[in-house]
């Protein structure tokens, strides 16, 4: 599976096989990271980025079970925390921040206008605690004192990934759902009705870190640094991410 044919006359360094840097990234980053890859590889011909996208929980399990990985970008702190000593703590940074929004089927009549209206909906789709936004949803609903009521009435349906939640909302199978702003952007059939107040949940941070036993720790760190540059951030921002507040 060699890519040596991609030799460019202008690119003398590519005459040797490029170093492979394996990046495990949350699936919600697929589009933006693929865009960045093109730019980055042309600037660093000695590096080839190999991505593995999946939900953060699956990625965590794969790393725990010994998958080869240099850089891990999680959609939630929990998954990163779960890896413990497997990541270099000094390399860990909060790379991106996402915003939690309430969505409803486009043009739905019985859609809630705000989070407060959720007391009156008949059903709501949330991500489970594996889907990073699931934890935040729980925080928000608890903060607003709606959680116990919705849960006891069996109005909450938990999706095992973001796509399930957005699809269910898009099909109007549920009255509304809580997802990231970035997820909402990918589904034309739904509309954002409210943004969760910042104080109601801990910031939705995407942490990134180089793995302890990374084979290409240096190159991975270099790529991670690049991701923090404005050039990369522009790409992330275009799909709805923001730079986390440097607190």
């Amino acid at each position: 599976n060699s890519n040596t044919q991609t030799d460019d006359a202008s690119n003398a360094a590519a005459s040797t096989d490029p170093t492979e840097v394996t990046v495990f990234a949350a699936a919600s980053l697929t589009e933006s990271l693929n865009q960045i890859k093109e730019v980055y590889e042309s600037e660093h011909p000695e590096v080839e980025l190999v991505y593995n996208f999946d939900s953060s929980g699956t990625l965590q399990t794969q790393i725990e079970e010994g998958a080869v990985c240099d850089l891990f970008i999680s959609a939630g702190q929990k998954q990163m925390d779960g890896l413990g000593d497997l990541v270099k703590s000094d390399s860990r940074v909060d790379l991106l921040e996402n915003t939690v929004v309430l969505v409803a089927p486009k043009g739905a009549e019985n859609a809630p206008a705000s989070f407060e209206d959720l007391a009156n909906v008949s059903s709501i789709a949330l991500g489970n605690s594996d889907v990073p936004v699931g934890q935040y949803s729980e925080e928000i609903l608890k903060y607003m004192g709606l959680w116990d009521g919705l849960n006891a009435d069996g109005k909450i349906t938990f999706g095992s990934n973001v796509k399930e939640v957005t699809s269910q909302v898009a099909a109007a199978a549920v009255d509304c759902g809580i997802v990231y702003r970035t997820d909402a952007a990918s589904e034309p059939e739904i509309e954002v009705v409210a943004t969760a107040p910042a104080e109601s949940y801990s910031p939705a941070i995407y942490p990134a870190a180089v793995l302890t036993n990374a084979a290409q720790a240096e190159e991975a760190q270099e790529f991670l640094d690049y991701l923090k540059t404005d050039k990369a951030m522009d790409v992330f921002a275009s799909v709805g991410f923001s730079r986390p507040d440097e607190a």
Binding site: G57, G82, P105, S123, A125, N128, S129, D130, N151, G154, K155, I156, T157, F158, G159, S160, E164, S167, Q168, A171, A172, A173, V174
Partner: protein, 220 residues
Amino acid sequence: MDWFPLWNSLRIAAAATVITFFLGIFAAYLVCHLPRSVKGICDVILTIPMVLPPTVVGFFLLRLLGPKGVIGSPLLEWFDLRIIMTWQAAIFAVIIVTFPLMYRTTRGAFESFDPNILDAARTLGLSGRYIFWRILLPGCKQGVFAGMILAFARGLGEYGATSMVSGYTPGRTATISTTVYQLWREGNTDLAYRWVFVNLAISFCVLMAVNLMERKRRKP
């Protein structure tokens, strides 16, 4: 340990198996009697649900059954019935996913049945219906049973399409497999394993029971 997912899984799998059973037999019979030209295409179309990833199947079903869907919207309008996100919706999902198993196994059995026997039945004046229910079907018992078990067992473990159309609402639509997945993702691995074990145990019992039944029938 809340036993609701067990009960829910069983009722979904059972209901779906009953329906798949008849649908599968019916489809197998029809396809066997089609002219050669369309037979192949029908066969392929009926097998397709098996080759699609269950999540894709679930997605299409969601579109169909949802309040905006072709099936869902009349149901909602006329009967005020919201089928999606209920445990009943999972029955549809399981039927579609298990149908090809039942259909193909049954068709194989039908095709290997001695055609002379069917001819004899017809010359004796037995109606097509009688021949089908009393001669062909009992004669293909083994194949039909095998298809049914496979369908039931597969239905019990179905995850992708079910979670898409029924969601996971504890105490309402949670099945064994969605519960396992949920628990496991929440890091509650112990309980998840316990449910996997329950799943295994039931499947084991079902398969074992049918095995014994088959054996008894062969030595009456």
